[in-house]
Symmetry: C2
Subunit: 257 residues, 2 copies
C-alpha cells in the first residue's frame, strides 16, 4: 500500500538521501539512484528491474502522479520551498524518487535461446548519449544492453532523465569484454563505424545479433572492430558525422523489426 | 589572405565581440553568431551560406587549425588566460570564431525544380534538439531546413556546437507558415507523429518531399497534421518515446536515399 506522508521539517531524517542532489550525482547514494519527473517516476513504478524506495513531491504535484502501480512505497509530501532547500536547487519538475537497480543475475537470464537483439556499448562516457542510447533501446525493445568498464553508469540522474525512464525498462549489465560475452552466448556482433565494410541496408542480421557502438571520435577499438561485422551508414558529401544515439536509433529501427 | 594577429592587451577593441560570450548567447552580436571548436570552425570556413568574420585562438591551438580555406579572415592569437578573461569563462576547446549567416534570398533559390528533400520544423525551442536536427540535415544532405516562428535560432552557440557545424552546410529559412510555403513550391508535406496514419516503411515519398517535426510532447498542431500525410514509427510495448533529433535521423536516413 502506498503511504502518503506529509513532512514539514526540512531536517527530517527521512529526507536524508534527497539532500544535495547535484553534489551526489556521481558518487551515488548507498547504491541507490535518483529519478526526476513525473513520466520517469511512473516508469520506475512498473520497472521489471528496479525497485522504487521512496518518492518526494509537493501537494500540487502529487495530484497529477499516478501512484496506482507504485506499490508499497512511501511518498513524502513537502512544500516546494522545502523540496528546493533539501535538494539544493530548484526542482521545477516537482518530483524526485529514489530507486534501486537489481539487474539480471547474468547474461543467460536475459539472452534466452532464440531471437535476441542486444545493444553493446564501449567507452560511452557522456551521460546525454548514454541516456539517448537507453531510450532507443527501450523504444525498439532490445533484450539487453551490455556495457564495458569505460561506460558511465546509465543510472546517473541525467542519463535517467534523458532516457525518459527507458533505463528502467531494458536490463543493462557490465561485462569485462563485450565480444567475448556475446560470443559465449552465441550472439553475432555487428560494429557500427563510419569505415564499416557493409552498408546498413545490406546487413541481414543473425537471429541472435548485437550492435556495438563506441564513443564519437575515437570509436570502437581496432580489436573490437576486427571481431565484428563492421557496418556503416552512408552520409552526404563529406559530412560523415552522426550523433551516437541518433545512429543507434537508425540501426535499432532497422534491426529490431 | 588569412592574417595572423597576435594580441596581448585584453582590452583590445578587436576582441570586443568576443566579450562575455555566455551573456550574449541569446541576444546576438550585431547579427553575428559565435562558433567554437576546431572542426566546427573549419566547417565555417567552407560554408556556402556563412562568412567567417574573425577567429580567436591561442598559439598552441593555431598550429592545429587548418586555415588553408579560411580566406580573407583575421585570426587573433592570444594567451589562454586572455581568451578566458575576454570570453568570461574557460574556453577549453581553445577556438572561437565570429560569423555571419546569409541564407538564401527565398525558397526558390534552394528548392530548384526536380527532386528535393526538406526538413520542416515547428516549435523546436530546445537548442540541443535544434543542433541535432541540423546535424542530421547535413549528414543526409537535405536541400533546405524550414523553420516556423516558434523555433529557436539554429545559430545559437550551443545549437551550432551540437550540429558540429551542420548548420553551416544546410541553408535554413524562416517562413510564416510551413505548409503554405511547401505547397507553394510543389513540395509534399509528411508529418511525423506517434499517431501517424502510415508506418514509415510504407511511405513512398514524392519526388519533392518535406518531413515535418514538432517539439516532443505537444507535437505538431492539428491544422498542420491535417494538411500532411501523417507518418509514424512503430515502437516497442508502450514505450512510445523517441527524441525528435533521433526520429529525424531515422526518417531522413530512409527518405534521403
Amino acid at each position: 500500500m502506498t503511504e502518503i506522508i506529509a513532512i514539514t521539517d526540512p531536517s527530517d531524517v527521512r529526507l536524508r538521501l534527497y539532500r544535495d542532489v547535484k553534489d551526489r550525482d556521481l558518487t551515488g547514494r548507498e547504491g541507490l539512484f535518483m529519478a526526476e519527473g513525473r513520466v520517469v517516476i511512473e516508469r520506475l513504478f512498473v520497472s521489471p528491474w528496479c525497485v522504487c524506495i521512496s518518492v518526494l513531491t509537493t501537494p500540487d504535484r502529487l495530484k497529477m502522479l499516478d501512484i496506482s502501480q507504485a506499490g508499497d512505497v512511501p511518498v513524502y509530501v513537502v512544500d516546494q520551498a522545502i523540496m528546493d532547500q533539501v535538494a539544493g536547487f530548484a526542482i521545477h519538475r516537482g518530483y524526485l524518487a529514489l530507486g534501486r537497480y537489481s539487474g539480471p543475475a547474468g547474461l543467460g537470464e536475459v539472452l534466452k535461446p532464440g531471437r535476441v537483439r542486444v545493444l553493446a556499448l564501449s567507452t560511452i562516457a557522456n551521460t546525454d548519449n548514454m541516456g539517448g542510447l537507453m531510450r532507443n533501446a527501450a523504444a525498439f525493445g532490445v533484450d539487453a544492453v551490455l556495457l564495458d568498464a569505460a561506460c558511465c553508469d546509465p543510472l546517473y540522474r541525467k542519463a535517467i532523465r534523458v532516457s525518459v525512464g527507458g533505463v528502467f525498462q531494458v536490463p543493462h549489465i557490465r561485462v569485462p569484454n563485450l565480444v567475448e560475452a556475446l560470443t559465449a552466448h552465441g550472439v553475432a556482433p555487428y560494429a557500427l563505424s563510419p569505415s564499416g565494410a557493409v552498408v546498413l541496408d545490406d546487413v541481414a542480421p543473425a537471429e541472435r545479433s548485437a550492435f556495438l557502438f563506441g564513443a564519437e571520435g575515437p570509436g570502437l577499438a581496432p580489436e573490437v572492430m576486427a571481431a565484428c561485422t563492421s557496418v556503416r551508414i552512408d552520409m552526404h558529401g563529406g559530412f560523415d558525422s552522426l550523433n551516437v544515439a541518433t545512429t543507434s536509433g537508425i540501426v535499432l529501427y532497422h534491426m529490431c523489426r
